[in-house]
């Protein structure tokens, strides 16, 4: 039930902070999402959507961390573990 799906904000509407809406693109499917909890969300941002509400804005820089870890792991292992 805690499923939340990332999508890209393509447009914003509404001045009331409680009912601020965005149209969010989920890989080609566009849905209307309440943005009351992510006042910082701007067009082009990726938001995490749960039951019609954005509960967070995805930090693109932090999203790279696992791949930095993977490079680190690769160097420590000194070989290409995916080949093993």
């Amino acid at each position: 039930m805690c499923l939340a799906v990332p999508g890209r904000v393509v447009s914003l509407s509404g001045d009331d902070p409680v009912t601020r809406l965005g149209r969010v693109d989920f890989g080609g499917i566009i849905k209307q999402v309440n943005l009351a909890f992510t006042p910082e969300a701007a067009i082009g941002d990726y938001v995490l959507v749960h039951v019609g509400f954005a509960i967070g804005v995805i930090d693109a820089a932090a999203a790279e961390r696992v791949f930095a870890h993977l490079r680190e792991i690769g160097e420590v292992a000194g070989d290409d573990p995916s080949a093993s």
Partner: protein, 369 residues
């Protein structure tokens, strides 16, 4: 899909699994808290990538699974009232109460409607002012802001025919209950990434310190879960017990402040009974006094504590991480998603349903050989 597909790269998953294998020198037992993580572990076969010394135990993070039968009974009772409309998320409809489920109530003429968002239930109340619309407000902290918003908007707009039957639960008190249980064998946790997106992870820091367990806030894709496990196992091997944040693309230490502010506005912390875990102090949310007019229990009478038990079903042991689904004699035979004996087989996030969906064929093969 961006921020999803790249976290499902099999080669990267194998590299993380290899790193875990190099890290681990002795047996460890780690619980993934959230049912969504359990589902991903079985769907992508993550457990099969791990060294035998690592045991994953599936946690209670499935709101459908831990909602007590008496709430379902109350929802059914409300649904069968002539003027009422009962709105619910879809995964609650087949959860057995003591006297059937909500789908059966619908078949008996109850007006039960499936909604995607609590705001959809509020829209039903606006559209049908002569009816009494009740939303079954269940969930963990992830869902609390959305349900709080429905209550907030209803109160602000003066809508008088909208009610919430609330059975909200909180993760940290459940972790404490698991750690306090005499038979506890959990040595580390993968905390639920979306719960922490809302709440942050400050409240987990005292738990990690007091019980000496590493807690790693973890996402839901295969690379998230493997990285979360790697971080957790590195801590265990080094004798550390800290809160770490694997899911930093979504989770900040303080969480989502506007969402928490609305939760505090609409709800208050209350004791809750959990299916499988029993009564836990301060483990849930109920409506705050200022929102009492929206409380379905005030309008239609309180939920009455249920006696009895779940019969042959061992979902309580599964929810506490004391048994795995295939260890149940009824699993896959007398208990299936089509004819479930208990909640963990009903919910798509329930551990039994996940094993049934992704493992039954494999288990049958193992038995045959």
């Amino acid at each position: 899909m961006k921020f999803r597909d790249e976290y499902r790269d099999p080669a990267a998953a194998h590299r993380l699994a290899a790193a875990i294998a190099r890290t681990v020198t002795r047996p460890w037992t780690v619980m993934e808290v959230c049912g969504g993580q359990t589902h991903a572990i079985l769907r992508f076969g993550i457990d099969a990538l791990l060294p035998e010394m690592v045991t994953l135990v599936h946690g209670p993070g499935c709101p459908v699974c831990v909602t007590p039968a008496e709430y379902i009974d109350k929802a059914i009772e409300i649904a069968l009232r002539p003027r009422a409309i009962l709105c619910s998320f879809g995964d609650m409809l087949r959860v057995p109460g003591r006297h059937g489920d909500l789908l059966a109530a619908k078949a008996r003429g109850g007006d039960v409607r499936l909604v995607y968002s609590p705001l959809d239930a509020l829209a039903v109340a606006r559209a049908e002012p002569s009816r009494e619309v009740v939303f079954l407000a269940v969930g963990f902290e992830t869902t609390a802001p959305a349900n709080a918003m429905a209550a907030y908007q209803a109160k602000r707009a003066g809508i008088r025919n909208f009610f919430l039957l609330v059975s909200h639960v909180l993760v940290p008190p459940a972790l404490r209950a698991i750690l306090n249980a005499p038979g506890n064998r959990i040595e580390g946790f993968l905390a639920a990434g979306h719960v922490c997106t809302v709440m942050g992870y400050k409240e987990y820091e005292p738990i990690a310190a007091r019980y000496r367990v590493p807690i790693v806030v973890t996402g839901f894709e295969p690379l998230d879960i493997l990285e979360g496990l790697w971080l957790c196992l590195r801590q265990l091997e080094a004798g550390r017990a800290e809160v770490e944040n694997q899911y930093s693309r979504s989770v900040r230490r303080a969480g989502n402040q506007p969402a928490q502010a609305l939760i505090r506005e609409v709800f208050r912390v209350v004791p809750r009974r959990w299916r499988g875990l029993g009564d836990i102090a301060d483990s849930g949310l109920g409506l705050a006094e200022a929102y009492g007019d929206l409380d379905a229990e005030r309008r239609f009478g309180p939920v009455c504590a249920a006696g009895g038990n779940d019969g042959e079903c061992i979902s309580g042991l599964v929810l506490r991480g004391e048994r795995k689904p295939p260890e149940c004699p009824a699993f896959g035979t007398r208990c299936t998603p089509q004819r479930p004996l208990g909640v963990t087989m009903v919910s798509s996030e329930g551990a039994c349903a996940a094993y049934y969906r992704y493992r039954l064929r494999q288990l049958a093969g193992d038995k045959a050989t």
